[in-house]
């Protein structure tokens, strides 16, 4: 594997909550994404996946505190750079696409004006305008020239998401982070955005990180997957291995209960018993142990990271090293 474009090393993030105590949203996460790769970060709500995505461009919400670790982007640690330097990297080196593209746009400016602002060319000159239109056409917007003069609310959700992707790609970032890029869209739009991202990953000379809770999106789009549970990456594997040979009991349970894979004839779906643990009061050992069908005594002690195969790692006592 070539040197990673973006790597997260032992990152921990916590939130202070009013009742006292810390919610440990991300705990000791290490990840890397290489050029030309699509990395999926998969998790349910409360798994810390969105916090991790925000930490990757160091745009954490107020109240969040980085406890430790680093986010390396081209050698520099994003978390320790001066603010001006970070702003320069955001957009140029790393860009983000959000779940609801409506909130990412200023409602009173035209699409063209905003894209020109993103690009730093404040006078949308003729040439720049051509470049913007070309970028919109690239993400599949019909009649791109006219779209530049529209306002965000005049576009449908799918179109807005395309524009958001185009805007993110304008500065030719090395890493594109997409947080739930299809969650707000209809099935047919979702399919189109998945296709777009897949095409882009082939042409564009960078890496894509997709954060989602949707197993189908991961399977359709990603090369490698990190599964998060209670703030930790519990399993990391190539996408085929993850879906066809999952090792962590949580990954297995999650794959099993998706109605899309279960035989429709069977009346009931398998479930994962119990609840996600309280992130402010985590157990000593494995966070999944209380819900795990295969838990044994050792699961109450700190969990080792096992490496059962090439490019794989699992955070579980039960997996053979």
């Amino acid at each position: 594997m070539t040197a990673p474009l973006l790597s997260v090393e032992g990152l921990s993030v916590s939130y202070r909550v009013p009742e006292g105590g810390d919610v440990r949203a991300v705990r000791g996460v290490s990840l890397a994404v290489a050029r030309g790769e699509v990395l999926g970060i998969m998790g349910e709500s409360g798994s810390g996946k969105s916090t991790l995505a925000a930490a990757m461009i160091n745009l954490l919400p107020p109240g969040a505190r980085i406890e430790g670790g680093a986010v390396r982007l081209g050698g520099a640690d994003m978390l320790r750079l001066p603010a001006a330097e970070q702003r320069r990297l955001r957009g140029r080196a790393v860009a983000m696409v959000f779940q609801d593209p409506m909130t990412a746009f200023n409602p009173v400016l035209t699409i063209g004006r905003q894209m020109a602002d993103f690009a730093g060319a404040h006078d949308a000159a003729r040439a720049a305008r051509g470049a913007l239109a070309a970028m919109l056409a690239r993400v599949g917007i019909p009649d791109a020239e006219r779209c530049l003069d529209r306002y965000p609310h005049e576009l449908s959700g799918g179109m807005r998401q395309r524009v958001a992707i185009a805007a993110a790609l304008l500065m030719q970032p090395e890493v594109l982070i997409a947080d739930e890029p299809t969650t707000a869209l209809d099935v047919t739009m979702e399919a189109q955005i998945i296709h777009l991202l897949r095409d882009l990953s082939r042409e564009f000379d960078g890496a894509i990180v997709v954060v989602t809770h949707h197993l189908g999106v991961i399977a359709e789009l990603c090369d490698r997957v990190a599964v998060m549970y209670a703030g930790e990456v519990v399993e990391e594997a190539p996408v085929d291995a993850l879906f066809h040979d999952p090792r962590h009991p949580y990954t297995r349970a999650l794959l099993a209960c998706d109605p899309a894979v279960v035989d429709p004839a069977s009346g009931r779906l398998p479930v994962i018993g119990g609840r996600v643990p309280d992130l402010a009061a985590l157990p000593q050992g494995c966070a999944f142990a209380p819900r795990c069908p295969a838990a044994f005594a050792a699961c109450r002690t700190p969990v080792p990271r096992r490496v059962p195969g090439p490019e794989r790692s699992v955070l579980c006592h039960g997996v053979a090293p």
Binding site: V17, P18, E19, G46, G48, P61, D179, E180
Partner: protein
Amino acid sequence: MSCAAEEVRPPARRGIGRALMADPLGAAGFALVAVFLAMALLAPWIAPFDPVALDVKAKFQPPSAAHWAGTDHLGRDLLSRIVWGARLALGIATTSVGIAGALGLVLGLVAGYGPRWLDALLVLVFDSMSSLPMIFLALAVITVLGPGTATLILVIVLVSFPAYGRMIRTQTLALSGADFILAERAMGAGPARIIFRHLLPNVVGPLVILICMDIPVVIMLEAGLGYLNLGVRPPAPSWGNILSDGYTSLRQAPHVIVVAGIPLVLATLGFTFLGEGLRDVLDPRGAGRRRP
């Protein structure tokens, strides 16, 4: 940003009282209001003298051990007059604002949830009432009915209910399309049930804040009208009457006007701080409902 909403659990709602006490201004406001309320309720036991008992020989006495706040031009004990004045001021303010609030609440709810024509009619009433200049309305009503406590209350109600009604109507309109109201309708709940059980508790918070912030305005109005001899009839010990008396005797006994001004300022500050504290405590929860 989505991650904050997603991953930090909503803070359990703390008691309003405790949250209010955590805010220094809110706590100060609460304390001042409590002192004035105690004064008003316990006036007969606190006041050292009869507030209207004349003692012309002892007129214009500066503050002393016997008369802590001194006496006025008729030798009446000023402290007693102020304590009884608190009862009068708060009594008038809470009664009138309470009536105006209740009226505004009911009319606003009806306008916001009722049929379109009723809404149009009520908005017309609110708008035409609030387009009348307050002081002229007050003077007109007082001229017709004659000054007195009841007139004062009527004036204040007329002046303040349109603002309450309009605010409640706006809130009700915004909520009437909310999913939980639709859900209640789908279960078969009638308009009365929806208005009083589901809409009212959700719009009353901001009204309480507004009322709290309005009480000092009313106290000032009462004092102002009293000063113009259009408020409560003398010799009743209203703060406005004391101020008015103090003004006439400003040269002989400047302490009168000072002593009458202090409670007015403190009460105004107290209610304003309390209102702002309540707003900070009640508002953050707001109407910010998550969307899928």
